[in-house]
C-alpha cells in the first residue's frame, strides 16, 4: 500500500492560488468572510508576537500558517459542537466566538483566560500534548448517549500523534463509534523535531487504518479544501458514521513560541519553500485573480483588522486583574477548611501589600 496514493492530498487551490478542484460548497461571500478572518487573525498573531517582544505579554505560541486549517475546521461546526484544542489553536477559538483579546489575556497569564464566555462550546486550551483528544472522545460519547446531534472535534499537532493518549483515544472512539473528528495539524515540526524524526510513516492519515476508521489528508493551507472536507466529514460523523481522522498538512511559519529560536534547527530554505503556499497569500491570490475581492477591498479589510486588533490589545490591557486569593475559588466547588485559612492568609498579605515571590527571593 502506498499511503500517499491511498490518502491523496485533497486540494482545491494549488500553492499559487489557482483553482484546481471543485469549490461548489463555498460561496463567494463565504470566501470574503474567510479572507477577512484570516486577515484579522494574522494581524492579531503578529501583534501578539510584538507585544511579547515588548514585554507586554508572556510566552505566546503563534499560529501563523495554520489559520486556514483552524478557521476551516471551526467554520464547519455547529455552535453546539465541542472544540477541544491546544495552546496554538486560538485562531479556531476566536473564529468560534472567543473574544479577540483572549489569546492576549492568556499570554498575560490572566486566570480568566480559561473561562471562555458562553455560549462558546470549547475547552480551555490544552498544554499537555494529546490530553484533549481523550476529552473529545468523552464529549462525543456523551452526546451519543444523550441522543444529541452534537459532535466533538479535537485539534492537535503532528507531535501529539506520538503520544499514547492519541492511540487510546482513536481506539476508544472507534470501539464506541463516538461522533468525534480528530484533526491533526501536521505543521511539520514539534518544536525542533521534524516530522521524519517523529514518525517513520509517510502520512498521519494512514494511522486511521489501525483503528478501522476513515482517514483523510487535506491541504491545510487551502481553506476551501479544509472547509469543504470538514463539512462533509462533520455531516457523516453527525449522522453516526463513526469517528474520522483528518490530517491537515500545513506549516508552522514562525517559531514554536516566543521562547523558541527556529534558526537553531531549521534551514531558511525550507522556510521559503513552505512560505510560498501559506494560506493567506494563497487565498489572496485566488480572490484577486477571480475578482471576488479587489486590492482596495482587501486593503479596507486590512485596515479594519488593524483596528480590531488594536481594540483587542486595549481590551486585554484594561481587563480587570483578579485578586491573587481568587486562586482558591476554583479548586473545589466549595473551599475546604484548610484552603480557607490559606486563602485568608494570602488575602491578608495582599491587603498588607507584602508582595511575594521572586522579588524577595
Amino acid at each position: 500500500m502506498d499511503p500517499l496514493k491511498a490518502f491523496p492530498l485533497i486540494q482545491v487551490l494549488d500553492e499559487d492560488g489557482r483553482l484546481i478542484g471543485d469549490r461548489s460548497q463555498v460561496s463567494d461571500d463565504q470566501l470574503r468572510a474567510f479572507f477577512r478572518w484570516l486577515t484579522i487573525l494574522r494581524t492579531l498573531d503578529q501583534r501578539a508576537w510584538n507585544l511579547q517582544r515588548q514585554g507586554r505579554i508572556g510566552t505566546y505560541p503563534p499560529f501563523s500558517g495554520q489559520e486556514a486549517t483552524q478557521v476551516g475546521v471551526a467554520a464547519a461546526l455547529s455552535p453546539d459542537d465541542w472544540l477541544c484544542g491546544s495552546y496554538r489553536d486560538w485562531a479556531a477559538l476566536v473564529y468560534r466566538g472567543v473574544p479577540l483579546y483572549f489569546p492576549l489575556l492568556n499570554s498575560m497569564g490572566h486566570p480568566a483566560a480559561g473561562a471562555f464566555p458562553d455560549p462558546v462550546q470549547a475547552l480551555p486550551v490544552q498544554v499537555v500534548i494529546a490530553a484533549q483528544i481523550l476529552h473529545a472522545v468523552g464529549l462525543a460519547w456523551a452526546a451519543k448517549l444523550q441522543g444529541e446531534p452534537r459532535i466533538a472535534v479535537a485539534l492537535f499537532g503532528d507531535g501529539a500523534t506520538s503520544q499514547g493518549d492519541f492511540h487510546e483515544a482513536l481506539n476508544l472512539a472507534s470501539v464506541m463509534s463516538a461522533p468525534a473528528v480528530f484533526v491533526c495539524q501536521n505543521n511539520q515540526w514539534a518544536i525542533s523535531v521534524p516530522l521524519h524524526r517523529q514518525m517513520h510513516s509517510q502520512t498521519i492519515a494512514q494511522r486511521a487504518i489501525a483503528y478501522n476508521i476513515e482517514g483523510l489528508r487535506v491541504d491545510g493551507n487551502d481553506i476551501i479544501a479544509v472547509y469543504q472536507t470538514m463539512k462533509e466529514v462533520v455531516e457523516r460523523v453527525r449522522a453516526g458514521g463513526g469517528p474520522v481522522l483528518v490530517e491537515a498538512v500545513t506549516y508552522r511559519l514562525g517559531a514554536h513560541t516566543t521562547a523558541d529560536d527556529p534558526t537553531r534547527y531549521r534551514a531558511r530554505e525550507e522556510d521559503e519553500r513552505f512560505r510560498h503556499g501559506e494560506p493567506l497569500a494563497r487565498l489572496r491570490r485566488y480572490l484577486l485573480a477571480s475578482q471576488i475581492l479587489s486590492e482596495d477591498e482587501m486593503q479596507a479589510i486590512e485596515e479594519e483588522a488593524k483596528g480590531l486588533v488594536e481594540q483587542a490589545v486595549t481590551d486585554a490591557a484594561s481587563y480587570p486583574p483578579s485578586p491573587p486569593e481568587s486562586v482558591f475559588d476554583h479548586v473545589y466547588a466549595s473551599i475546604p477548611p484548610q484552603l480557607l485559612s490559606q486563602q485568608e492568609e494570602l488575602a491578608r498579605r495582599v491587603r498588607e501589600g507584602r508582595r511575594g515571590g521572586q522579588s524577595h527571593g
Binding site: A115, A131, N171, D329, V331, P336
Partner: protein, 325 residues
C-alpha cells in the same frame, strides 16, 4: 436494612445511583458481563445495559480521559481502575486534567467524576496489585480522596462521592471487601466527605487509621485494653481534604498519637497527618507522633506480605512507645 459485606454495599450504591440518575454510568475493564473482577458491578450490566455499564478497552488513560469528557458533557461517570497500581497509566488525566479543569477554566467547567479502585494488601495478589498510593493523590489539589473501612461507610461515602461536583478518588480496601458484614440501609444515604469518624473513644492515646488499617487499629485497641490502656481509634475516611478538627481534638485530649497506614512510610499520608497535628496540638503532645506503616520497599510478594504489613502487634508496640516516652 440488610446485613451485607462492603462489596455488596458498593454494588448497592452503584445500583441506586444508576437507577436514580440517568446521567450516572459505570465504565472500566471487565465491569460489564463479568461484573468486575471483585464483583462490585455484578448484575448492573444486565439491569442497565451496555450503554450505561461499559467494558472499555484496556487503557486506563482512555478510561479517565474519556470520563473527564463524559463528565463535561453532562454525564456522571463512575470509572473503575481495576487495581490502584494501574492508575499510574492514567496519572496525567488524574493530575493535570480531571482535578484541574475547574481551576483551568476559572470555574466555568467542573468534572463530577468518581474513580473507584481496589487497593492495599492482605489478599496475596501478584505484584503491583496491592499498592497503596493514596499519598500521591492527596497531594493533588482539586481531587478528593476517600476510603471506607466498613460496609456502611462504603455505601454512604460512595453515594456522597457520586453526588459531589468534584472528582473523587474512591479507594476500596480489597481485604475488607468481604471481611465483615454490617446492617446497611437499603435506601440512599450519604456519609459526608471531609469528616473523620471516632470509631472507638479512648483517653490515653489516639490511633489514627483509615481503610484496611482501621480493623488493625481496633484489634490493637482491644488488646491494649487488657493492659488498661484506653485507645481512641479514629477512621480518617476522607484523606483529602483531611478533617484535621476531629483529629487534633482527639490528640489535644489524649496527648499522644500513633498513625497507621499500609503505604510506605516515607512520604506517606501519615507524614502529613503527623506534621499537621504537631502544628495544631504541639503543647498537648506528651510524646512524638509515631507512624506504623508499610516499610520503604515496594509492596512485596505474597510470601512476605504478612510480615511487611502493619499489624496489631506493631500498633501496640507504638502505643506503648508513646505511652512510656
Amino acid at each position: 436494612m440488610a446485613n451485607i459485606t462492603m462489596i455488596q454495599a458498593i454494588n448497592q450504591a452503584l445500583d441506586l445511583a444508576l437507577s436514580a440518575d440517568d446521567r450516572v454510568m459505570v465504565l472500566g475493564e471487565d465491569v460489564g458481563p463479568n461484573g468486575g473482577v471483585f464483583r462490585a458491578t455484578e448484575g448492573l450490566y444486565e439491569k442497565y445495559g451496555g450503554q450505561r455499564v461499559v467494558d472499555t478497552p484496556l487503557a486506563e488513560s482512555a478510561i479517565i480521559g474519556s470520563a473527564v469528557g463524559l463528565a463535561l458533557g453532562g454525564m456522571r461517570p463512575v470509572a473503575e481502575i481495576q487495581f490502584l497500581g494501574f492508575i499510574f497509566e492514567a496519572m496525567d488525566q488524574m493530575s493535570t486534567q480531571a482535578s484541574r479543569l475547574r481551576f483551568r477554566s476559572y470555574g466555568r467547567y467542573h468534572v463530577p467524576l468518581v474513580v473507584r479502585a481496589p487497593y492495599g494488601g492482605g489478599v496475596r495478589t501478584p505484584e503491583i496489585h496491592s499498592d497503596s498510593l493514596e499519598a500521591l493523590f492527596s497531594h493533588l489539589p482539586g481531587l478528593k480522596v476517600v476510603t471506607p473501612s466498613t460496609p456502611y461507610d462504603a455505601k454512604g461515602l460512595l453515594l456522597a462521592s457520586i453526588s459531589d461536583p468534584d472528582p473523587v478518588l474512591f479507594l476500596e480496601p480489597m481485604r475488607l471487601y468481604r471481611a465483615m458484614r454490617q446492617e446497611v440501609p437499603d435506601s440512599w444515604y450519604e456519609v459526608p466527605l471531609g469528616s473523620a469518624r471516632v470509631v472507638r473513644p479512648g483517653d490515653d492515646v489516639s490511633v489514627i487509621a483509615y481503610g484496611p488499617m482501621v480493623p488493625v487499629a481496633e484489634a490493637a485497641a482491644e488488646t491494649l485494653l487488657q493492659s488498661d490502656i484506653s485507645v481512641e481509634v479514629i477512621d480518617v475516611r476522607t484523606l483529602n481534604p483531611l478533617d484535621l478538627e476531629t483529629l487534633s481534638a482527639s490528640v489535644a485530649k489524649t496527648g499522644r498519637a500513633v498513625i497507621v497506614h499500609e503505604a510506605q512510610r516515607t512520604g506517606g499520608l501519615g507524614a502529613e497527618i503527623a506534621a499537621s497535628l504537631q502544628e495544631r496540638a504541639f503543647l498537648s503532645l506528651e510524646a512524638p507522633i509515631m507512624r506504623v506503616t508499610g516499610y520503604d520497599t515496594p509492596f512485596p510478594v505474597p510470601s512476605v506480605e504478612d510480615w511487611w504489613l502493619p499489624d496489631a502487634d506493631r500498633v501496640a508496640d507504638a502505643v506503648n512507645f508513646v505511652l512510656h516516652y
